[in-house]
Subunit: 429 residues, 2 copies
């Protein structure tokens, strides 16, 4: 019997082709990026991205659950209410968080500048920021560049936009698919930036997805919830959640297909496709976490409830000692079972089986005879799976995580510190 | 108005003198240690400790909340029911966890061997273990040494016993006080071993405390609960809880003072004194955490409820990014306020003040003008305080924590891994 309520990927169920184009892969979207010198007035890197739909959209978004929310998140939460978003403006280099009334004014000024240029309403523009917190946005360097960004809008502008939102990311994060549907096809694509807590200061997971399906507000909301739960909500690098985390999906109906109806086969196809795009971007985020050397899938099986399965998976994925053992390529099931024990889930020690890849390391809570050298081969791989079978019920949950490396700590203490102080002392906002 | 329900130390309220003698400082207790070669048959270090009361006791204990519990913990939980414990036997080098039926038999065999030598009942002997998990205890090397341990029992044996329970600890952890009371005095003293998750495999916080007060079972239980809540339950190194954590307090009435009555001034004196001893030992454990370079007190003030204050203190204390910033001597209030935000406590961002030592880094959720160089001086110290004032209510909570160093990760991945594999391959149990 397959596990109930699992968050397993559903991409096996749908036909799709991987295509290029990222956030402009879907028809009717354009993107661009410009250089404002947000981190540093002399810098030449792209740091302001713009994404625009040429026609009206139905848009939904999910924001950080952190109670300390950046000014841009607060403004977005107001603007998204009407759902008919036309553009997203996003900067890197400053998170516009812990910036008080001034921060709200600055975020609104960014949406106003875009709205004026595009001749849309302010509330049709969403705004995102990522970077250092507690310092005012250098708005006087941003606003004059908005007309340039609008002038540069291009159906091939996705890569520029993606580069403009990167902070400590070392790898591009872009993914798009085309899905055959009825007499035609629809496209979904997106770009994302780094996860977990990224330099400077902490930072943010941002993900912008566009699609040319035609879909109602309620159906979009349901598909969004489904796909986020099974992708971004099941990755963890260091257990922290940022003040700025944002996922936005815009749909403009430009595929020419009929509107997707509730509970139709087309709805199922769309939410699986959306899930596929989000999951691919989420995995890229984990793999590119700060100084990550391993990508590990933690699969919990046969828990009493999905809530229990999730507790176990997340606790194991967040345990420092487990993450250190991954880093050291150590098949250390002792640390795993111990994290299972303090997860708060209902477990019975004497029923727990733990696998590294396909190898049984622990059977009924006791060591097996599997040679350590065999298990080490699994854990030495850059990607592997740990399966924890609780043998108590039928529910499962999967979490994607990484190791914890010395370099992470180094990066987040001394190196970071030196960089940020140099910046503060130079007075760069 | 002082904060409600705080877990502040109450030692200022009581008179006491620090004395030597550790777990044998109180009258009528003896201790000893012997070498069994538990980790390694050729090793010469002490690895089996024995603590004995010469007269009947009232004893209470607190055990790990981890649902994966070591065999010795399960046996202790049975034996403690009658409370009249006479002895504690404790080994290092093997945790006797994830060892199934054989583990229970081995733990019982240890209590039986001690009981026979002391001519007491098996259930009057408690048993503790710390070390590697998932391997059977080398019981055949332990049992023959029990008569030696009994023969060596000495009123000056505390240091030997302490050394025998150390694993990756680098510093001795012993503390004792004498408290004037009525016409005489009572003594409380104890020994402890390393905290957080310690090598090998994960390990354990063990703490054995003895006192010569005369106290009933219920009063002892109440004092124990009070003191543990305000000491061991408010330290955190890496957020993990072990399969073997145990705190035991034995009282034998040898002070000659009258029995301590419920709700009397003497009861208050005793529970504050017990708290003092536990807090000192708990602080030693944090300071000697794996590769710790900083000891940090996280004080949360003016939360709506103590539960909220605790959530905030624990979340900040456990945040990897906050711990990394302590390691790098970075006065990074942004990481702190962000952890406050995801703690789950009721907060209002615009009311939050954050201090490093006495310096206001963040006022009402915004940066202050305090020079970073001044705040850096505070955070560069090996011990400092971070105060988070939520300005929402009147409740407080304090947590003691440490930084996270590169060496911690190194120690828990490669070094550890190499050591444990060498051991497994040699077949040492």
């Amino acid at each position: 019997m397959p596990p109930k309520h699992d968050n397993e990927p559903c991409d096996a169920r749908i036909p799709f082709n991987v295509i290029t184009g990222g956030v402009t892969a879907a028809r009717g979207f354009r993107a661009s990026a410009v250089t404002c010198g947000i981190k540093n007035p002399e810098a030449t890197r792209l740091d302001l991205a713009l994404i625009v739909s040429d026609s009206p959209t139905v848009t939904d978004a999910v924001f950080t659950t952190n109670k300390v929310r950046a000014a841009c998140v607060r403004v977005c939460q107001q603007h998204i209410k009407d759902s008919d978003t036309r553009a997203i403006i996003a900067n890197s280099g400053n998170a516009n968080a812990c910036t008080g009334v001034q921060g709200i004014q600055d975020a609104k000024a960014m949406t106003k500048a875009v709205a004026e240029q595009l001749n849309v309403k302010m509330r049709q523009v969403l705004v995102c920021s990522t970077g250092i917190i507690g310092m005012p946005l250098p708005i006087q360097r941003i606003l004059p560049k908005v007309p340039d960004a609008v002038a540069k809008l291009d159906a091939a502008g996705s890569d520029d936009a993606m580069r403009a939102i990167m902070t400590s990311d070392t790898q591009p994060k872009t993914f798009a698919i085309e899905v055959p549907c009825g007499d035609g096809s629809f496209r979904i694509g997106g770009i994302a930036k780094g996860a977990g807590m990224i330099c400077p200061n902490m930072a943010t997971m941002l993900c912008f997805i566009t699609t040319d399906v035609k879909i109602g507000k309620n159906e979009m909301h349901r598909a969004m919830h489904y796909a986020v739960e099974k992708s971004f909500n099941c990755i963890t690098i260091d257990g922290d959640t940022s003040t700025n985390d944002t996922v936005i999906v815009m749909s403009n109906g430009a595929s020419g297909l009929p509107a997707i109806k509730r509970n139709s086969p087309e709805f199922d196809l769309f939410r699986c496709a959306l899930h596929k795009v989000m999951l691919e971007l989420a995995k890229m985020i984990v793999c590119d976490g700060e100084r990550v050397t391993k990508f590990v899938e933690i699969r919990v099986r046969n828990a009493r409830t999905q809530a229990d399965a999730r507790k176990v998976a997340e606790t194991v994925a967040k345990s420092l000692l487990v993450k250190c053992s991954f880093n050291g390529s150590d098949p250390n099931w002792g640390r795993i079972i111990h994290a299972v024990g303090y997860s708060g889930a209902r477990i019975r020690e004497e029923l727990i089986d733990i696998f590294f890849g396909g190898l049984l390391a622990c059977k009924g809570g006791l060591a097996t005879k599997t040679p350590i050298s065999e298990m080490e081969k699994v854990v030495k791989e850059p990607k592997f799976t740990v399966t924890i079978d609780l043998n108590l019920g039928t529910s499962g949950y999967t979490v994607y995580t990484s190791d914890l490396s010395e370099q992470y700590v180094d990066f987040n203490s001394s190196e970071y510190s030196a960089a940020i102080h140099a910046k503060r002392q130079k007075g760069f906002a």
